[in-house]
């Protein structure tokens, strides 16, 4: 298990940027590493009171799963759905190549 008190390195930020699909510039990565360490040092405070006897809360008001009847409701048309697409063709979203040359 990774050490939650370890410093966030430039390599860590590079890895996180990859996971988040943001092609950060080298200068941004370095800058972010510094800022993230500062922020994480501060928010680590939550661990002081999060003892095992405290249950977690995901939503402010207790909710149960909401299911609706399996019927077609008011839905967008294909044209509406494609209206904001950067590129569309023949009623579909068009994307660049899925696989690179090395794949």
């Amino acid at each position: 298990m990774p050490d939650a008190s370890a410093e966030i390195t430039v390599a860590d930020v590079q890895h996180l940027a990859g996971l988040a699909r943001i092609a950060l510039e080298p200068g941004e990565i370095e800058h972010l590493a510094g800022e993230l360490n500062q922020i994480v040092d501060s928010v680590r405070k939550v661990q002081e009171v999060a003892t095992p006897d405290v249950p977690a809360t995901s939503h402010p008001l207790p909710l149960v799963n909401v299911l609706r009847a399996d019927e077609v409701g008011a839905v967008l048309t294909q044209q509406q759905v494609l209206s904001g697409a950067p590129d569309a063709f023949d009623g579909r979203f068009r994307v660049p190549a899925i696989l690179g040359e090395e794949q």
Binding site: M1, P2, A4, I8, D12, V13, L16, A17, L19, A20, R21, I22, A23, L24, E25, E28, L32, E35, L36, Q38, I39, V40, S42, V43, R44, K45, V46, Q47, E48, V49, A50, T51, V54, P55, A56, T57, S58, H59, P60, L61, L63, V66, R68, L76, Q80, V81, S83, G84, A85, P86, D87, F93, V95, P96, A97, I98, L99, G100
Partner: protein, 518 residues
């Protein structure tokens, strides 16, 4: 008709009903005001112009035929750019959504339209509602109508500045950690974050889904209640929407204003948010407000909320975690920006588009959220933060056993100057220390103006919080306090704001309003 823009939504609705003013006149007056002051204020990212005039004419025709869709029909309204509008660009102030026109209206917008209100345009905000100053807008900041060198709060600085500058009588905002209440506080206006689930989030561009809530922005408590009544209530398109039958918030406000007394109301001062370490003038006005409430019959009690000091840390783990997931949808495929460097895979295009389309604060929070959710750190950060959420809720439950409403200053300081905190994320995050607990627990909160800080002449806000589902209490207590203040001051606080729309002096010695001493 220059008075027209100074009327509240309630007053304007009265005049529209009486027939001594038309919606076309009202809409034109506000569009003229927008043209006059926008070069200074920059509250709007898009102005509806002719579309607003056409809708106003249609409402006038309906009213003449006796078919006005609601008492507020014909009243103009400004809409935060985080809400989807089928006829106007909806960008959340991000370059990644520049020019995007959604195929549908957000539910709160659809309800305003159905009630006959006239959308004037879309208001500026911090990009994807991440920020407390509008300095993170990709389209330039909004300036505070009280002092153009200062921030209007954030993220909803545009909506707050629009109502404070009389560009619109009412507006919509969204509040994830204070984005309605903090801008209200620093601009001398009113803002309400309803109970989580009280207003539909359908069509609100998501920041943190377990915290986001849409609400009204206005100059008076009654106007906020009128808008709340229109936008609130169950919506099957939002799975977290509550099915409760809600009382009229406007009625609660009218009752509170008429009552003029707070007899029997227990007002709890949260010890952990009582102003210690806050700006002196903020503390002074807060203390004065407590005295005013006590004189009106309220019982002031001090309550403890020992875990509130952990709330901000929990928030800055939960919010980035949820945001990093919500913002994954900006993938350059279905909508928004695509930057294609050529001979690239979809994944490379996605990464370059997100690099170019997102601003620095959005990237910061996405990376932080990705970190908090990554394998091995999940329990230590996100898990612990969710446990703190339970503790904050327990603090609220205990506090509301001793008090009907809780109060605190809405913000630690008055409006700060541009640039003061923009490069210091932690300092910026601390602006929300007072407002965040309500979002974590889902309880409703209101900010209303309680005077000016003596040291800088800028507005100070009071935050009122009530138990979940008891939003009406905010309106009842807020309207009473507002009525007492107006009686004492002889006019609302905003009448003391400097006039806008004058020629801006060229910066330099001797040309500033105070004689060049800055």
């Amino acid at each position: 008709m220059s008075d027209l823009i100074h009327w509240t939504a309630a007053e304007l609705a009265g005049h529209l009903a009486a027939g001594d003013v038309s919606s076309v006149e009202a809409t034109r007056a506000h569009l003229d005001r927008i043209a006059e002051v926008e070069p200074d204020v920059h509250a709007f990212l898009h102005v509806a112009g002719e579309a607003a005039m056409a809708r106003a004419a249609e409402i006038d025709r309906l009213r003449a035929a006796g078919e006005a869709p609601s008492p507020l029909a014909g009243v103009p309204v400004a809409i935060k750019d985080v809400l989807c509008t089928a006829d106007m660009p909806s960008t959340a102030a991000s370059k990644i959504l520049e020019g995007w026109i959604p195929p549908y209206d957000a539910t709160p917008v659809a309800r305003l339209r159905a009630a006959g209100l006239i959308p004037l345009g879309k208001t500026n905000m911090d990009e994807f509602a991440m920020g407390s100053s509008t300095e993170y807008s990709a389209y330039g900041p909004t300036r505070n109508p009280w002092d153009l060198t200062r921030i209007p709060g954030g993220s909803g600085g545009g909506s707050a500045a629009a109502v404070a500058a009389f560009e619109a009588p009412v507006a919509l905002g969204s509040d994830t950690g204070g984005s309605i209440r903090q801008p209200a506080s620093v601009t001398g206006s009113v803002g309400v974050k309803p109970t989580y689930g009280g207003v539909s989030r359908y069509g609100a561009i998501a920041l943190a889904s377990s915290l986001d809530q849409v609400g009204p922005v206005s100059r008076t408590v009654l106007d906020a209640g009128l808008i709340h009544d229109v936008i609130g209530g169950y919506d099957p398109n939002d799975a977290t929407s509550l099915k409760d039958e809600w009382p009229s918030m406007a009625e609660a406000a009218r009752r509170g204003a008429a009552q003029g007394s707070l007899d029997g109301v227990r007002v709890g001062v949260v010890k952990q948010l009582n102003g210690e370490g806050f700006q002196e003038g903020v503390r002074a006005r807060f203390a004065e407000s407590l005295e005013r409430m006590a004189a009106a019959g309220a019982e002031i009690v001090e309550v403890e909320a020992p875990h509130f000091e952990y709330a901000i840390s929990a928030y800055y783990l939960i919010l980035p975690a949820e945001a990093s997931s919500n913002l994954a949808k900006y993938d350059s495929v279905r909508f928004g920006l695509r930057v294609d460097p050529g001979r690239s895979t979809t994944e490379q295009v996605m990464s370059v588009s997100r690099e170019r389309g997102f601003g620095p604060e959005v990237k910061r929070r996405i990376i932080l959220g990705t970190y908090a959710l990554s394998a091995g750190y999940y329990d230590a950060y996100y898990g612990s933060a969710q446990q703190v959420r339970t503790l904050v809720q327990r603090d609220f439950t205990a506090a509301f056993e001793q008090a009907d409403v809780l109060v605190s200053p809405s913000t630690p300081t008055t409006a700060f100057r541009f640039g003061e905190k923009v490069d210091d994320p932690l300092a910026m995050y601390l602006n929300d220390v007072t407002t965040i607990p309500a979002n974590l627990a889902g309880v409703p909160g209101m900010s209303l103006p309680i005077g000016l800080a003596p040291e800088d002449g800028l507005p100070v806000g009071l935050q009122i919080m009530a138990p979940a589902r008891e939003d009406a209490r905010l309106y009842r207590v807020g309207a009473t306090l507002e009525a007492l203040q107006d009686a004492e001051w002889g006019a609302p606080l905003l009448s003391r704001a400097p006039e806008l729309g004058r020629p801006v002096p060229v910066p330099g010695f001797g040309t500033e309003p105070d004689g060049g001493t800055r």
